[in-house]
Amino acid sequence: MTSTTTQGEGPTRFVRVGRHPTTVVSVTVVLLLAAVFAVGGKDNGLVTQSIVTGLLLGGVYALVSIGLTLIFGVLGVVNFAQGSMLTMSMYVVYALVSGPGLPVYLATLLAIPVMFAFGMFVQHFLLNRLTSTGSHEGPLLVTLGLQLLIANVLLMIFSGRPKSVGTPFDGSFEMLGAIASYSRVIAFAGAVLVGIALTLVLRRTSLGLSIRAVAANAQGAALVGVNVRRVYALTFGIGAASVAVAGGLMTPFTSLTPSVGEQFTILAFVIVVLGGLGSVLGATIGGLVIGLVQTVGALYLPGTGSLILVFAVFVMVLFLRPQGLYGAK
């Protein structure tokens, strides 16, 4: 029903991040942080801590967003169940840890195929008919329903009492005068690994080529023999699988309730748009940037103040560079 012309020409070209967004972003971030150190008027140890915390938190955000950037970028689905899928994978891990007693990181590996299959199922049976008509309100509503469904089925199975999962690597260490806990550092490393792995899949494999082709132009890809529906289902599966990694790595430092993941959905959209639709690298960098904005920003704007900052960044990006940092024009 709506015209599908997004953006492209016109006043969207003001911000020239150019061909080296990574350089531009990191220089900007470093300069801003230096400014915080120099004239921020805060204790240096505290600023260092907030940067380390922000980066580690950003790693978590990146993990959640990497899956979403594929789903939103390739399928155009505004997946409101992203956060609930995160919750679901946490409970899968919880079940594997508390039932058979597997260690948490092994359980995470097992959760990956489970969530992959779930993602394929959702796309194939619930969304395919709607995505092929090109409407975006249909999929939006289905994922909204899915979010409610997942949260409440988890509630029925596990009850709403908070659950926790232990980790063999409990504890923390000091790094540059800041404290970092092992489980968060592992999650950060996981984000980097998933980012690299997915980038390789997208760049080096024939599946990756098909996904990129479908993302660029589904009709065109179909004409050259790509099975678009299969690619859609696989993409959703991969998106769900990376959420499984996120959920698994987050369980050691998260109090599990059936709605714990929902708060991440909105931030993940912010990050995906910031990074550029379909860009795994963009989602990773975007996650780190938002983590930093939130944590360092909280030094000056406590409480929800830093969240207002996050949304302000989001709107600015939408207006000035809607294709995101790494988006193709």
Binding site: L46, A151, L155, G160, R161, I179, A298, L307
Partner: protein, 409 residues
């Protein structure tokens, strides 16, 4: 396709009629039964505690019925009608209206302050007494409502008595406390507890050297906030908030190892919850919590909690005990008034005195002119081993206080 569409439409219409007729069916005329409405968030983000509270109310009804019902009403049996607020104010409101229309003579609920505000307005206009089990906001009872009563202490009184207890703990243990850094959740709850604490603490010679607020959502790492608190070099870090943020704060404190004498929660949703010792592990050890709490030394409480766990398979937390208590308040009101007329019931509850409260309060449950339980207060608990022990004041203690309360590291 066409068929499916028409069948669905027919179903919806038929269902709609069923719902309309269904809701009229209840009625209060069933002889020998008195209906009490219970409204809690049994689905949605707060479903865990909401479910516990609903079960607590159910157990109270079962116990009263097993003991012969309401004697002043010829042994009339109580019936609990449960409503699910889904955590939403407007749903809570329509559930309240449904329960009242179904003949509920009193309501208990609702855990959340905003839902409670709506239900209180409905109860006021429907002239049905509403006994609030849990809902902390001072403002609820500042509307001049006549039909609302609250069993638990409000935010201000918790902040005040939290400060008094902290000062006494310092004096008693010979390590006087002169400064605190205060971490609290954003919003009315955190603000009012903090303000009351700050005022009373100043009177007790404790300076609040740093106030740090954090958001209720999108808060998944407390390290920076705790470090900021520690940077102010306080004697004690105080924290007010809900469950997940409480766990994060305890973990961050144990990781940063600041030079403090303890982490002290006031009205904290985590620190005295039964699942906190397991969730926080080592980092939870010796954490203190000033909160309203069931009286663990009371035999009746122990009995109720044992039977609850046997029946529902989950531990009965304080919130659940409060729901139980709220139903008892209603039952006592029925006994006192000898009538199931809501207005007479209100009169009775307003003048009631329950001498053996299940909670560790300063005295019997009696309501002031606002409807606030005058003797509601907090006690101090401490995580010791796998348990939450009552440690202060002496009369309620189950274990000795460990202070300075630095975790076993």
């Amino acid at each position: 396709m066409k068929k499916i569409a028409s069948v669905m439409t027919a179903l919806v219409v038929a269902g709609g009629l069923a719902a309309c007729s269904g809701s009229d069916g209840g009625g209060s005329s069933e002889s020998g039964t008195v209906t009490i409405g219970s409204i809690h968030p049994t689905s949605g983000a707060l479903a865990g505690v909401g479910g516990l509270m609903d079960d607590g109310a159910k157990l109270a009804v079962d116990d009263i019925n097993a003991a012969g019902g309401i004697k002043a009403l010829d042994g009339a049996k109580l019936k609990l009608s449960s409503g699910d607020s889904q955590g939403k104010a407007e749903v809570g409101q329509s559930e309240a209206q449904r329960l009242i229309a179904d003949g509920a003579v009193a309501l208990v609920g609702t855990y959340q302050s905003d839902v409670t505000q709506n239900v209180a307005a409905v109860a006021e206009r429907g002239r049905v007494p509403f006994v609030i089990d849990v809902a902390v906001d001072d403002k609820i009872l500042q509307q001049g409502y006549k039909y609302a009563f609250r069993v638990q202490p409000d935010a201000t009184s918790m902040g005040t008595s939290g400060a008094q207890s902290l000062a006494k703990i310092g004096q008693d243990s010979g390590t006087p406390i002169t400064s605190v850094a205060y971490l609290h959740i954003e919003g009315a709850f955190g603000d009012s507890v903090f303000k009351a604490f700050e005022a009373e603490a100043a009177a007790q010679g404790i300076t609040s050297v740093k106030e740090i607020t954090y958001p209720a959502t999108n808060f998944s790492d407390a390290t920076t906030q705790v470090r900021e608190a520690a940077a102010a070099k306080p004697d004690v870090i105080v924290a007010t908030g809900y469950y997940p943020d409480g766990v994060l704060i305890a973990k961050a404190v144990s990781e940063l190892k600041p030079d403090i004498q303890g982490l002290y929660g006031i009205a904290n949703g985590a620190f005295d919850d039964g699942s906190f010792p397991a969730a926080s592990g080592e980092s939870g050890q010796n954490v203190l919590s000033a909160n309203y709490h069931y009286d663990a030394n009371d035999e009746r409480v122990a009995d109720i909690r044992t039977r609850f766990e046997a029946k529902y398979g989950k531990p009965m937390e304080t919130a659940s005990i409060l729901s139980y208590q709220a139903v008892e308040v209603v039952a006592a009101g029925l006994e006192k008034s000898g009538s199931d007329d809501p207005e007479k019931l209100r009169e009775a509850i307003a003048g009631i005195s329950i001498d053996d409260p299940l909670l560790a309060f300063d005295g019997p449950i009696t309501f002031d002119e606002r409807g606030q339980n005058e003797n509601a207060t907090v006690i101090v608990m401490q995580v010791q081993g796998d348990n939450v022990e009552q440690v202060f004041p002496q009369e309620f203690s189950t274990k000795d206080l460990v202070f300075p309360a630095t975790a076993a590291r």
